[in-house]
């Protein structure tokens, strides 16, 4: 009887650094050209950046004049203005409060991202965390001086706007997506009209409407806080995009999944919660994270209605007559902050996708 052939290892020609260069960088003439082009651009950019940020600057400089002489990045500007940029016009001596509040907020978000914290007690953590943030920011309790939220600014404001934006836009968007696929014509029509209307206007116009037009319609003497109005505008805006993305995921779920769930007698909401949504949301993690990242950056648009978020604070820092002309420093500084947050969100989404993928496929 014939024996099956023994298994062999694959050939080793593609191994080693030379093999890597050949297969990854120079596998075809076009690839070789692109690789060389990329290397050339990197050679131009990186040394110049290092020179601008670390070689030319005089780290001991303390005045704008000394900075202007060197021509490099003015670290003195950051030293001088970072608290204004990070915390806006929040009372200077109390700025440890927004710092702590931001740290708590980031901490709670990071915990929420880890699967081992995904249980009911997470809601408690959020409750406590948000209460702490509220007390710290507003004060008026425990001997903390009261600070009205018109004075909030900088990073905590950006974080608050985007955290609440995502936290409310996401469930609202999911409900809208379900509504848009509903068999009830009324529900469906309302959801379609809402989604299409919101997606048809820019966020800027929504913010304007909430800050300028809305008060006109409210009864005399009745006003909603400006921050809250901006927050609601952001939520309403992002929810429409979340809805369309989630709908895409729902459409990708085969009919057999609904039938399988039907056949064991699950109710509509049980099906959605246990069978359909987990699969649909997993599919749309990448575009959903895209929406969250743009929401985070779009919070900078509240500048136009005069909220003092990170971007507005950077603008304010530059407008100081003494430190005029350092806008590159200021905007580079907040760009790095935005980048760190967005990049973390993006990396987390990749990790989450990989984690959820485990075992589902052969």
């Amino acid at each position: 009887m014939a024996q099956p052939l023994p298994d062999r290892l694959p050939p080793r020609s593609s191994a080693g650094p030379m093999g890597w260069l050949r297969t990854q960088l120079f596998s075809s003439p076009l690839n070789a050209v692109l690789s060389l082009l990329t290397i050339w651009v990197l050679l131009l950019a990186i040394p110049a950046l290092v020179d601008y940020l670390f070689v030319r600057p005089d780290f001991a400089a303390t005045t704008p004049e000394q900075c202007r002489e060197t021509g490099g990045y003015c670290w003195a500007f950051v030293r001088e203005k970072h608290r204004l940029i990070l915390f806006g016009v929040y009372p200077y001596d109390e700025q440890w409060r927004p710092l702590l509040a931001s740290a708590i907020l980031v901490g709670v978000i990071v915990c929420s991202c880890m699967r081992r914290f995904w249980r009911p007690s997470l809601a408690l953590l959020w409750g406590v965390g948000l209460a702490a943030v509220g007390v710290l920011m507003w004060g008026g309790l425990f001997g903390l001086a009261y600070v009205e939220n018109a004075k909030w600014g900088g990073l905590p404001l950006t974080l608050i706007l985007s955290t609440f934006g995502i936290a409310f836009a996401f469930p609202f968007g999911v409900v809208l997506a379900l509504g848009r696929r509903s068999h009830m014509p009324g529900v469906k029509a309302v959801c379609v009209i809402y989604i299409e209307l919101i997606r048809g206007v820019p966020l800027v116009s929504l913010l304007f409407m909430s800050s300028v037009m809305l008060p006109l319609f409210l009864p005399e003497g009745f006003s909603i806080d400006k921050l809250l109005r901006a927050q609601i505008a952001i939520i309403l805006f992002a929810a429409a995009y979340v809805a369309e993305t989630v709908r895409g995921g729902l459409q990708a779920i085969p009919r057999g999944q609904y039938e399988g769930a039907d056949s064991i007698g699950l109710s509509y909401w049980q099906q959605m919660r246990k069978i359909i949504m987990p699969q649909a949301l997993k599919i749309v993690i990448p575009p959903l994270v895209g929406i969250f990242i743009s929401l985070f950056k779009d919070t900078s648009l509240v500048v136009i209605i005069g909220l003092f978020d990170l971007t507005m604070a950077a603008k304010a820092a530059v407008s100081d007559a003494v430190w005029r002309g350092f806008s590159t420093e200021s905007y580079l500084f907040i760009a790095v902050i935005y980048f760190v947050f967005c990049f973390s969100i993006s990396r987390y989404s990749l990790a989450l996708e990989r984690q959820l993928d485990q075992g589902h496929h052969r």
Partner: protein
């Protein structure tokens, strides 16, 4: 014959303009095992899918275990608790382990404690001979194993009636037998009411009390397997049988 557990009375259904079920009448006795065959498009799948309301009939009555199927959601859910279904493409939930697939219905629909549901699930996994796969995901199993999990998932709901919608037609040939063996065992040991759409004629001969032949939305002929296969009365039945038994 005792009181039928399933009754179809003058059931009609259309897909758009297409008349798929025409004045169907059918009585199924408790513990009866029926095999339904017929050419594709004859309405056989549609008929059994009407029994647990995966499809909606437009005219006539369907009464399952004394409850008539209407638009009342609570009645539909009640009937689905009593009627298990096995699909051609398994329809397992890919994001859950085998054990989670099996306990989902008992825990959420029947409100059983999780430990009890898991014990029941393991019992049925042993019955379909794959207890060692409990912690795997459906995607890691072969087609035959997946279909056996699907059978176990239905059984976990402790149904009075099992519907099989071409349970072996999506399987690789070498896996058909392991699924049929489980179904034969189920028929012989439990005395459950079974309606099975299949072209496995060996299975029909072995376990069915009655074989039904459908064509163009009608029941053309029904009889015990021996008579049905050996002495088909209708011309269309003979033609069909000659095409599948080569």
């Amino acid at each position: 014959m005792s009181e039928p557990i399933i009754q179809l009375k003058k059931v009609n259904k259309w897909y758009g303009q297409f008349h798929v079920l025409k004045d169907l009448d059918l009585d199924v006795a408790p513990s009866e095992r029926i095999v339904i065959c017929g050419p594709s498009g004859s309405g056989k799948s549609t008929m059994i899918r009407c029994i647990n309301r995966l499809e909606e009939h437009q005219e006539g009555q369907i009464i399952v275990d004394g409850t008539e199927l209407t638009n009342d959601l609570r009645q539909i859910e009640a009937i689905r608790r009593d009627v298990g279904m096995v699909f051609q493409h398994f329809n397992l939930f890919p994001h859950m382990t085998v054990l989670e697939n099996l306990t989902l219905g008992p825990v959420w629909v029947l409100k059983r404690p999780r430990a009890e549901a898991e014990a029941t699930a393991m019992k049925y996994l042993e019955r379909v001979r794959i207890p060692d796969q409990a912690q795997k995901y459906p995607g890691q199993l072969s087609g035959g194993q997946q279909q056996r999990v699907a059978i176990a998932r239905s059984l976990c709901m402790n149904p009075k009636i099992m519907l099989f919608d071409e349970p072996t037609s999506a399987l690789d040939p070498e896996m058909v037998k392991e699924v049929l063996d489980v179904m034969v065992e189920l028929a012989e040991e439990t005395g459950m009411t079974m309606l099975c759409v299949t072209h496995e004629m060996g299975f029909a001969r072995q376990v069915a009390n009655r074989v039904i032949f459908m064509d163009h939305g009608e029941i053309i002929e029904q009889n015990t397997p021996d008579v049905f296969f050996d002495h088909p009365r209708n011309e269309r039945t003979r033609l069909f049988l000659s095409q599948i038994l080569h």
